[in-house]
C-alpha cells in the first residue's frame, strides 16, 4: 500500500496550472500551507470565493481574538493542534443577518459552552450566535468555511498563480 501524503506548514509541495489556451488567473490556484506560511496569526485570507461564500486559510498561532458570526461556520484543521473555546453570549454580538465573522474587542460576557481540541483532519462547528476563540501553542493551519465578511482578507494576486 502506498503511503497517504498530507501537507503541512513545514512540508508541502505545490502543484500548478499548465496552461494550454487559458489565463491561469481563472483558476485562482493557491496552496493553503504556502498562504499560511506567509500570513500573520489569525489573518483570514480568502483562498476560495464562490460569490458571497469564502474559504479562508488561517495561520493558527497563539490565542486568536474572539470572533462571532450570525451563521454557522466550520473550521477544518489542516495542520497542527488547535483548541476552540466557545461562549454563549448574554447579548447578541452580531446584528441579525450580518454575513461573515466579526472580530470582537474582548472576551464577551456569557456562559462558557465548552471547548474542543482538534488536530489534523478534525472539523469543528462554530455555531451560529456563539463567540469563539482559537488557541494554538504551535503554528498550525485552519480552513474556515464561512461567508465573506469585514475581516476577510483578499490578496489574490499575492497568493495565486498568475503566470502560465
Amino acid at each position: 500500500m502506498s503511503q497517504t501524503i498530507f501537507g503541512s506548514l513545514n512540508n508541502y509541495e505545490k502543484g500548478g496550472v499548465q496552461v494550454i489556451d487559458d489565463d491561469p488567473k481563472h483558476y485562482a490556484f493557491s496552496n493553503v500551507f504556502e498562504v499560511a506560511s506567509k500570513s500573520k496569526p489569525y489573518e483570514k485570507v480568502a483562498v476560495g470565493q464562490n460569490l458571497k461564500y469564502v474559504i479562508e486559510a488561517i495561520r493558527a498561532e497563539g490565542n486568536s481574538p474572539w470572533f462571532a458570526a450570525d451563521h454557522d461556520e466550520a473550521a477544518l484543521v489542516m495542520d497542527g493542534e488547535v483548541e476552540v473555546h466557545l461562549i454563549q453570549p448574554d447579548q447578541p454580538l452580531v446584528p441579525a443577518g450580518k454575513e461573515g465573522s466579526v472580530k470582537l474587542d474582548a472576551e464577551p460576557k456569557g456562559k462558557k459552552m465548552g471547548w474542543v481540541k482538534a488536530w489534523r483532519g478534525h472539523m469543528a462547528l462554530l455555531p451560529k450566535g456563539s463567540a469563539y476563540q482559537f488557541r494554538s501553542a504551535k503554528p498550525g493551519v485552519l480552513l474556515l468555511q464561512t461567508i465573506k465578511g469585514d475581516f476577510t482578507v483578499e490578496k489574490w494576486a499575492d497568493i495565486c498563480q498568475t503566470e502560465a
Binding site: I20, G48, E73, R120
Partner: protein
Amino acid sequence: MSTATSTPVSAATTKKQSLGYKTFSIGKFNFERDEYFAHIYYPGNQHIIPIDNFLRSLMRDVGWGFFYGTVNFDNVFGTVNHYGTVEMFVGLFNDAYRKTNRHFVETFQSADLRKVFEAMLDDWTNEGFDPYAAPDETGKPFGPKHGSNTKALKRIRQVAKRMVGLPGDLPYRTDAEYPVNRQFTDVPQDKPEIHAEPGFEGQVHAFNAFGYIVRSDVTWNPSVVSCVHDSQFCATTEEHALPITHGNDRVEWFIQVCDEIVWDVDDGATGRPRAKVTMKPGDVAAMPADIRHKGYSPKRSILVVWENNDDRLPKMYANHELKPYPVEF
C-alpha cells in the same frame, strides 16, 4: 441538428438480445448492450461506448440526480441537468458535430429519464461489478448477462444538513458498514476532544472529517460533510479516473486534501483543451463555469469539492450575468 425520424436497427440486435440484456428506449433514443459495448441509437445515426465506462458514467448520472450541469459520458454523448428536466444529447458539446449540424438533443422530465437509466443500470450491471468502485476493487462488467448487483447501485448520496455527527444529522461511518478503504489504513481514526459544559452537549461539536471521508465506499461521488447555507463541502475519495467529463454550470472549487489529482480542463462548449491542473496536498483551485473537467488520481486521494448550491446560479452564468471565473485580480 439531425432531423431524421427513423431509428436504424442494429444488424446485431438479435445476437445482443440472446446475451440476456434488455433493450431500453425513451423518446427517440434506443439503448442496447452486448458483451463489451453500449450501443446508442438516435434518429439517423448511432454511437458506441465501452460498457465499463458507460456503466460507471451512468452510475454517477443516476447517483448524482444528473448532477450540476453536464455529464459527458465521453466527448459525444451525455446529459444536461435543467433541474426538473434533462437534455439527453449526442454531439451537443462536440465542435465537429455542431459544425456539421449532426448533433441531436431531446428533453425529458428528470423523473422519466431517471427511471429508464436506473432500470438500464440495474439490468446491465452483472454480479461482481461495482460501477462506483475503483477498477482495482471490483470485478469485470463484460460478457453475457450473469446475475446482478442491485445493492451496490442503490447507495444514496449522503448530504449533511449542517455537519456530520450533529444530533439529527448524518451519522458517523462505522466499521460494520463503512470500513476504512484499503488505501487509507494509515489515516488516523482518532477523535477530537470535546469538553461540553452541561446543557451544551450537541452544540460543542467536532469530528474526524478525514477519518470519516476515508471510509467512503465509492469513488468520484461527493457527499456533503458540512454546510454554511448554500456553501457545501462535498468530500470524496478519488482513485483511477473520473468516468465522466463534468461540464460545469457554475464555478466550483477543489481542495486537494491528500495525494495528487491531475485534471484535464477543456472548453465546456467545444471540448478544446484549455489547461491541465495538477493538485497536491493543500492546493486550492477553481473550476470556471464554462469548462469541463476530467480527473486522474494515481492513488486513492481525498478531494473536497466546494459547491455553491444556490439554484439561481446556472441561469445567471448562462445569461452571462456572472463571469465564468470566480475572482478578478
